[in-house]
């Protein structure tokens, strides 16, 4: 019983993080019908930015509100800018080309980032060496939120623990998701986004600045991903170049399960995946963790390929 509760809590905590990443996939798919393979790797870059900021900021600011805010904000801004760059120089020139070209480009970017970051590269300037590329080894992520058990229930060997970072991630993720929902349905930008996702050529005819809306969507998705990546790194207490690929893939699976293009669907899919993974790992062995998501994906595609909340979209003929 305690074990079950603990798995439930851990699963939900993991699920909310997947959800933030999944939102990025779903939004970009919504406006461009492109699986942005590089999304997870943009997230990874964001985590390294956060790592660098925390490192420069110094240990004494860890655990303070201002310190945490600084790390998150800088990392999210950097990621938004990075997402914008990728959209502008890699995807926009290919927008009217066959879909396969953008997909291959996305795969290429993902590959370049996740393996580029595995190289060791440092420059020596004035005696100090500056790391440019971090190398393949996993690094300990600074404890910007000092781990603390906020809640403990039960006796020593049979207990449920809720950590402070779990609660904080949950709150941040929930706030961002609510904010996103408001943005999509209550603002002009959201309305424009929905118009573009319906048909970007028609939207352009109606005077909607399609380029700006798509760029904005990328920035938004990338910022959310950076936030998710930081939360994940805090939970995992480590950061490594391949994390983007793995988390990204799972988040993508979550988006497909929920019905890609559907914002609440992505959240539900991510929570379902987080729980599923946690329970499978909890009751069997952690070495099967990576297989769960894809097994789940294949089952969903077999039974309900449009996802739980997605609708079959016929191509306009």
């Amino acid at each position: 019983m305690y074990g079950f509760l603990q798995h439930l809590i851990n699963g939900l905590a993991a699920g909310t993080i997947y959800a933030l990443v999944a939102l990025g996939y779903t939004m970009v798919y919504g406006v461009l019908k492109l699986i942005n393979f590089a999304h997870g790797d943009v997230m990874m870059v964001g985590v390294y930015v956060g790592y660098a900021v925390a490192f420069l900021m110094g240990r004494e600011h860890f655990g303070t509100f201002a310190g945490v805010m600084l790390v998150f904000l800088v990392s999210m801004l950097a990621c938004a800018a990075f997402g914008l760059l990728i959209e502008r120089f890699a995807y926009r020139p290919l927008r009217e080309k066959p879909r396969l070209t953008s997909l291959i480009t996305a795969i290429g970017i993902s590959f370049a980032l996740s393996y580029g970051f595995q190289l060791d590269l440092a420059v020596n300037l004035g005696g100090t060496s500056y790391t440019l590329l971090p190398g393949a080894a996993s690094r300990a992520f600074p404890e910007i939120i000092v781990p603390n058990q906020w809640f403990e229930f039960g006796s020593d060997d049979q207990s449920v623990i809720i950590w402070n970072w779990q609660v904080i991630s949950f709150l941040i993720a929930a706030a961002l998701m609510v904010g996103l929902q408001l943005l999509v349905f209550k603002t002009r930008f959201g309305r424009a986004m929905r118009a573009v996702s319906f048909d970007h050529r028609v939207a352009a005819l109606l005077g909607i600045p399609v380029d700006r809306v798509i760029a904005g969507t990328f920035m938004l998705g990338s910022a959310l991903a950076a936030c998710a990546g930081l939360l994940y790194a805090i939970k995992d207490t480590s950061v490594q170049p391949l994390m983007g690929m793995y988390i990204g893939l799972k988040a993508f699976v979550a988006a497909v399960i929920g019905g890609i293009g559907n914002v609440p669907g992505a959240v539900v899919g991510a929570l379902a995946l987080g729980l599923c993974e946690e329970f499978v790992v909890g009751y069997t062995s952690s070495s099967w963790r990576d297989a769960v998501a894809f097994g789940f994906l294949i089952l969903v595609l077999l039974a309900k390929p449009e996802g739980l909340f997605g609708r079959v979209q016929a191509e306009k003929v």
Partner: protein, 335 residues
């Protein structure tokens, strides 16, 4: 039927002769086998990614299935002989059996993966195949009977480069004949416009699945061949990196061109191998420099993909084939 099979029979004779001539030259044999395996992988992946316009990025997964199936089979039958035949012939027959078994099991996996994902749009296949590759890796690493993370050793080293290149010939012949058949035309039609193809009576799903199964079969054979000339088969040989390597080959060669896939596979296999030897020599026998170069290869592949898409999305050959050019040239010469 006999006439149709004639090129394959000739090729078999040629490959046996070459193997007899050059079989003692181990370095050449190893390199030629490596190139051959990559050519089989690239040409077969081109059937689904190039000709059909779907996008699989998990070819290494099918290769792994073939490698482990073939490897286990050959391990189990390592001591068996067909009594009346000379040892070499008996061994090679067992090898062919293992190769076909590897291909068949990979093809079955292709069916299982392809059926749910190929009814949807092409990009789902990308994700599912990627996932498949990962699942295979996880399964292998967790199965002691397959050697776990350490890998499978002791598979009899029966595959000479002659055998490998015989399969290279088969896969190229297959791709060429497929392209010139009603099936190939239907695959092209699917690549060009799926809605129109369907409206013209092409059962798009069934064609896509069959193309994918065929592609997986040859990936399995390539894996099985690989298992029979490398000392250890381990999960590290079949990662996402391997899949990406093949994808880069066919994209650079020109999606849809068998000639392009072939050329790019040869070139992109020899180039890093050559660089490795060069930098090992430059480093005075110290392999660390060569390893560095090896690491840089992967990000370069990624950047290469992006650059090709932005500047020349049709790759080197586009959809042209060398034999078409030859045919045109002969026609002109005759006229």
């Amino acid at each position: 039927m006999i006439r149709g099979a004639a090129p394959a029979i000739l090729a078999a004779v040629g490959c046996i002769a070459l193997q007899a001539l050059l079989g003692e030259w181990a370095f050449f044999g190893y390199l030629a086998s490596l190139v051959g395996v990559n050519v089989i992988l690239a040409v077969s992946l081109n059937v689904i990614n190039g000709m059909t316009g779907q996008f699989s990025i998990g070819h290494a997964g099918f290769m792994a299935v073939g490698a482990y199936t073939g490897g286990i089979l050959s391990l189990a039958t390592a001591q068996d002989r067909i009594g009346v035949l000379p040892e070499v012939v008996s061994d090679q027959l067992f090898l062919v059996g293992s190769l076909c078994a590897g291909g068949t099991v990979a093809a079955l996996c292709g069916l299982i993966v392809g059926l749910p994902s190929l009814r949807l749009r092409g990009d789902y296949l990308a994700i599912v195949t990627l996932g498949f590759g990962e699942i295979i890796r996880v399964i292998v690493q967790n199965t002691q009977a397959l050697g776990g993370a350490l890998g499978l050793s002791g598979v009899p080293q029966r595959a000479g480069f002659g055998m490998v290149w015989f399969w290279v010939f088969l896969v190229v012949l297959m791709a060429r004949r497929l392209a010139a058949s009603p099936h190939g035309r239907s695959l092209w039609a699917i690549r060009e416009d799926e809605v129109a193809a369907e409206a013209m009576g092409v059962d798009t799903t069934s064609y896509k699945v069959r193309a994918f199964v065929l592609s997986s079969f040859f990936a399995g054979v390539a894996g099985a061949l690989f298992a029979h000339f490398v000392p250890i088969v381990n999960p590290g040989s079949f990662t996402f990196v391997k899949s990406m390597e093949i994808v880069v080959m066919i994209v650079a060669g020109g999606l849809g061109s068998t000639t392009g896939a072939f050329t790019a596979a040869v070139f992109l296999t020899l180039l890093p191998e050559g660089m490795r030897s060069l930098f090992t020599t430059l480093g005075g026998g110290d392999p660390s420099l060569a390893q560095k170069v090896d690491q840089v290869r992967m990000p370069i592949y990624g950047v290469l993909l992006v650059l090709i898409m932005l500047t020349r999305p049709q790759g080197i050959f586009g959809t042209h084939e060398a034999w078409d050019a030859v045919a045109r040239w002969r026609k002109k010469a005759r006229a």
